[in-house]
């Protein structure tokens, strides 16, 4: 088991998400950076959907109750265990009683701790992800607190240290400025409700991520983007990545804990292959949108899978050489 010793911000247990309960109003939840969670699980030989801990803020501290292998992926963190520094995107072995400390997060917004076998909380409605709004899944449907005890599924393996290239390097995309993230979007239903000049404003602006951004949604700040005439839609299904424009003209990107439906006009949708980049964009930094086609969005998905396939192959190769 793992005991939480110190936590800052809403850390939570997440797997890849809950995908087939939308007709009951249940959103997907799941890791904001699915690539990092998958990579951590691959490093440990877990099922890629095994649950890990999503850590959005430091300091964060926990104690391992028994010997276990674990990995840290996602945001760059300054991490230490038993006096050893752990590099980013790395797996290593903890001994019973070892304390893991995440001291600072110089880059990115969410770090993922995965453990051998996964965090063994009950599966609720098909997933171990925490559903904050419904207060179920994860550990008692809530963020982690000091003193929480998390069960881990397996403890047997002893592994050697191993690192992989972070997704943000392998899947890097050019951006205009250091604190700016560019994500690809496919236009959505109400795009044509905005005139050409307003559409240009949407594409050309560098959008600031406001402090009101979280797992529910990223609220952006920039020039007002308003439709030619106000649009009130009948409520309809939406998915993470959808960019809504409420009447104040300031876009909101729906994220993993978003409502499953809405009625504000939708200008575009961040493609699934790039949504993790939004999840790693920090409050106060900037976002830019780049238009892409449905076909290119599918190609981007393939590129992401190829990266994960390469990690899987190299981890397997290393295991074979070591045994």
């Amino acid at each position: 088991m793992i005991e939480i010793l110190s936590v800052t911000g809403p850390a939570s247990v997440q797997d890849l998400g809950r995908f087939d309960q939308v007709r009951f109003g249940v959103g997907t939840s799941g890791a904001m950076d699915d690539v990092a969670l998958r990579a951590g699980n691959i490093l440990l030989g877990n099922d890629e959907n095994a649950a890990g801990i999503e850590i959005p803020m430091t300091p964060f501290k926990l104690r391992f109750g028994r010997d276990t292998a674990f990995a840290l992926t996602g945001a760059d963190v300054e991490a230490e265990i038993a006096g050893r520094t752990i590099p980013p995107w790395w797996r290593t072995q903890a001994r019973a009683g070892d304390v893991l400390t995440l001291k600072a997060m110089p880059r990115g917004a969410r770090s993922y701790l995965t453990v051998s076998g996964g965090i063994d909380v009950p599966i609720v409605l098909g997933s171990r992800s925490t559903q904050f709004r419904g207060e179920f899944g994860g550990l008692h449907g809530r963020p982690l607190q000091v003193g929480d005890i998390l069960p881990c599924a397996s403890w047997s393996v002893t592994i050697r240290d191993l690192g992989i290239e972070p997704a943000e390097i392998t899947l890097a995309r050019s951006s205009a400025a250091a604190d700016e993230t560019t994500v690809r979007v496919v236009i959505a239903g109400e795009y044509d409700g905005f005139d050409a000049a307003t559409q240009q404003l949407f594409w050309q602006s560098s959008w600031k991520i406001t402090p009101q951004s979280n797992r529910y949604g990223y609220r952006l700040q920039g020039p007002e983007v308003k439709p030619t005439v106000p649009i009130e839609k009948r409520s309809h299904g939406i998915v993470p990545g959808v960019i809504q424009i409420p009447p104040n003209g300031q876009p909101i990107i729906q994220m993993r804990d978003a409502q499953t439906s809405g009625g504000y006009p939708k200008i575009a949708t961040v493609i699934s292959a790039d949504l993790w980049r939004v999840g790693q964009a920090r409050l106060g930094s900037r976002l830019r949108f780049e238009q892409t086609s449905y076909a290119d969005a599918l190609a981007a998905e393939t590129e992401k899978s190829a990266y994960l396939d390469r990690i899987r192959a190299s981890v397997r190769l290393v295991e074979e050489c070591l045994t």
Binding site: G25, L125, P230, H236, G237, V242, P247, I252
Partner: protein
């Protein structure tokens, strides 16, 4: 046939597609949506078919390579869809109108030019039909609201609205099943359990069920 007589189909990235039926926000159109949802949920590659208000979202198991055949199937499916009659159950929900949770009752009265009492009696008069579930676990979108108490959604959504809030958003009304963000205007509240993940079916209500609001009290 004009363009507005045809459904609108649009993409939600690569993970879902939205079908919006032409025509009124009424029960006959909604019954056709339920019927189309029942059909489309069986198509290969479709994870879920989720009815909204006279619209339908299809989520993908894996995104289709090309969309033309799916779009054609949806259009054909809509033309063929007979209204699906669902014999639901009737729920009576006591509501306390106004008060701290229903702070916007006066705003709706001001916006519609009616008295608070009129807004309450107009809101509590109809037998509402659950058109769809969505938003958050167990939340029901209701059809049947009197257009006299329509009020546009908020300029900026609230970060947190109370659980059990009875709210108006545009020409729709509903009851939140848990606390959370909302762009709607709360006019009252109720205490009832709409969702429990341990139930066989986690949501208490389903499309086709009906709700009657009973005026328990009005706090002015």
């Amino acid at each position: 046939m004009t363009a507005s007589d045809r459904p609108r189909i649009s993409l939600l990235g690569t993970s879902a597609l939205l079908f919006e039926a032409p025509g009124a926000f009424d029960l006959p159109h909604q019954r056709r949506i339920w019927s189309l949802a029942a059909t489309a949920s069986k198509w290969p590659g479709i994870r879920e078919a989720i009815p909204g208000i006279t619209n339908l979202m299809l989520t993908f198991e894996t995104p289709p390579r090309e969309l033309d055949s799916l779009i054609a199937a949806l259009n054909a499916g809509w033309d063929e869809a007979d209204g699906l009659m669902i014999g639901g159950r009737e729920i009576r929900l006591p509501v306390i109108y106004g008060g701290e949770i229903g702070l916007c009752l006066q705003d709706v009265a001001d916006y519609s030019g009616l008295s608070v009492d009129d807004v309450v009696s107009i809101h509590a008069a109809p037998l509402y039909t659950v058109f769809a579930l969505g938003s958050h676990p167990g939340y029901c979108y209701l059809g049947g609201m009197d257009p006299r108490i329509t009020m546009p959604r908020r300029q900026t959504p609230l970060q947190r609205s109370a659980g059990g809030s009875v709210s108006i958003g545009g020409s729709q009304t509903g009851v939140s099943a848990s606390p959370g963000p909302s762009g709607w205007h709360a006019i009252g509240h109720t205490t009832w359990t709409f969702f429990d993940p341990s139930w066989q079916t986690p949501a208490a209500l389903a499309p086709g069920d009906t709700i009657r609001f009973e005026i328990e009290r009005v706090i002015r």
